[in-house]
Assembly symmetry: C2
Homo-oligomer: 209 residues x 2
DNA sequence: ATTGGTTCCAAACAACTGTTTGAATGCTAG
DNA sequence: CTAGCATTCAAACAGTTGTTTGGAACCAAT
C-alpha cells in the first residue's frame, strides 16, 4: 500500500488550506504542489470535502488524546486537582501542536478558525462533536478544582478557548513555553475571580441531594 | 441619488458573507437576494473585493468610534482610569454591535473572523490598520490603570481580544449585558494578576529618565 | 509469463465564477 | 418637451472550478 501519495496530499492540503482557506485552495494547486496527478485527490479521498475532513481528523485526534492524557495524569496527582495544571493540560498541547504541525506558527489554528468560520456544512458539526467530549472532561476537572458547579463554568471556559485560539494563531515556535505560562496564569486568575461572583457549591447539596 | 440599491447590496452581502464566507458567496446570490441586477455590484462598488472592503468599513467605523468615545469619557472621569471601565469601553460596544448589526447573534463577528482567516490580500492589512489606532489607545489606558509598561500588556490584551472575539460569535441579544460584565471581570482579574508577575513600572524611571 | 487489482495519468466534462458590454430605462435640469 | 446623465438590465465573455473517464503503468501472486 503506497500511502505516500495519500499522505503527501494530506500534508500539502493542510498547508495550503491554512494559508489560503478551503474555498480558495484548488485541487489543482494541491496536486501540483504535492507532485501528484489531479485525479489522485478524488481517487484517494473521494472528494474535496472529504479531504478537508480528513485533514482535521488527523490533527484533532492528536490534540484531543494528548489533552486527555495530560488531564488524566493531573487528576491522578491530586484530589481536588490543581487548577493551574488542569489549564496547562488544556493549553499546552494546543500551543505545541500549533507550532509543530507545520513550519511556521499557527498554521493549524488558522485552520481551525477557518473551519469554524466557513460553515462547511458537516465540518462544523464534526469538530464540535470531537470537542464536546474533551470539553466536558475539562469543565468537570475545573469545576472540581474550584468547587463550583460545572454549569456556570461554560462561559468562562469559552473565554479561555477564545483567548487560546486567538493566541495560537500568532504564537511562533520559540514562544510556546512562555506564552503557555502567561495564558495559564491569565486564565486561572479569571476563573478564580469569576467563581467568587457565583454561588459557591457547597459540595454537599449537589452531591447528596 | 438612489442609494437604495447600493445600500441593499451592502446589507445583503454582509448577511451572506457572514453566513457562508466571502469566497463561497457569489455575486449572483447577492444580487438575487437583494433583488437587483447582477451587474449592479460592479457598477456601484467596482468589484467583489471592493464590496467586501466596503462591508467592513461601515461596521468598523461604527465600532471604533464608539469605543474611542467611551474610552475618552472614562479617561475624563478619573486619573488613573478605572480598569473595569476601560475594559468595558472596549468590550461593550463590540458585543452590542455583534447582536445589533443583524438579526441573530454574532453575525458581524463571524465576519471579522472570516476576514482574519481568509487572507483576503489587502483586507487583513486594512483591518489591522483600522485596529492599530484603537488598540494603542486602549493599551495605553490599561497600562496607566495598572501602572505597568504598555509593552508587556500586548500579550494579555491579545488574550482579551481572543476571548471577546470568540464570545461575540456566540452571544445572542438578551445576553449582552450579562456576558459583557462576566468578560470584563474575567479580563480584569487576568490583567491584574499578570501585572504582578512583571516588573512594576515605578512611573518615575520611565517618565523621567 | 500471465493474471488481477491497485495506482497513476492526460484529457475532457459540465457547471459556475467575476466581469464586461451595449442597449434600454428612468429621472432631472434647461 | 427634451437633452443628458445616472441607473438598470439581459446577454455574453473568458477563465476556473471539482469531478469523471478510459486507458496506461505498475506490482505481487499464480
Amino acid at each position: 500500500m503506497t500511502d505516500s501519495t495519500r499522505q503527501r496530499i494530506l500534508d500539502t492540503a493542510e498547508q495550503l488550506f491554512a494559508d489560503q482557506g478551503f474555498h480558495a485552495t484548488t485541487l489543482r494547486q494541491i496536486t501540483r504542489e504535492a507532485q501528484v496527478n489531479l485525479a489522485a485527490v478524488n481517487y484517494h479521498h473521494g472528494s474535496k470535502d472529504a479531504l478537508i475532513l480528513a485533514v482535521f481528523q488527523r490533527r484533532l485526534d492528536e490534540l484531543n488524546s494528548e489533552r486527555l492524557a495530560r488531564l488524566q495524569s493531573v487528576l491522578d496527582a491530586s484530589d481536588p486537582p490543581d487548577l493551574e495544571k488542569v489549564l496547562g493540560a488544556f493549553i499546552y498541547p494546543a500551543l505545541l501542536l500549533s507550532t509543530q504541525s507545520a513550519g511556521d506558527g499557527g498554521r493549524f489554528m488558522r485552520l481551525l478558525m477557518r473551519a469554524w468560520a466557513e460553515n462547511a456544512t458537516q465540518l462544523h458539526g464534526t469538530i464540535a462533536r470531537q470537542y464536546s467530549h474533551v470539553m466536558r472532561a475539562f469543565a468537570d476537572a475545573v469545576s472540581r478544582a474550584l468547587g463550583t458547579s460545572p454549569d456556570n463554568l461554560r462561559q468562562q471556559l469559552d473565554f479561555l478557548i477564545g483567548a487560546l485560539t486567538y493566541t495560537m494563531a500568532e504564537t511562533t515556535d520559540g514562544q510556546v513555553e512562555e506564552t503557555a505560562r502567561a495564558l495559564v496564569r491569565f486564565g486561572c486568575a479569571g476563573l478564580r475571580d469569576s467563581a467568587l461572583a457565583q454561588p459557591r457549591q457547597t459540595s454537599l447539596k449537589e452531591n447528596i441531594a
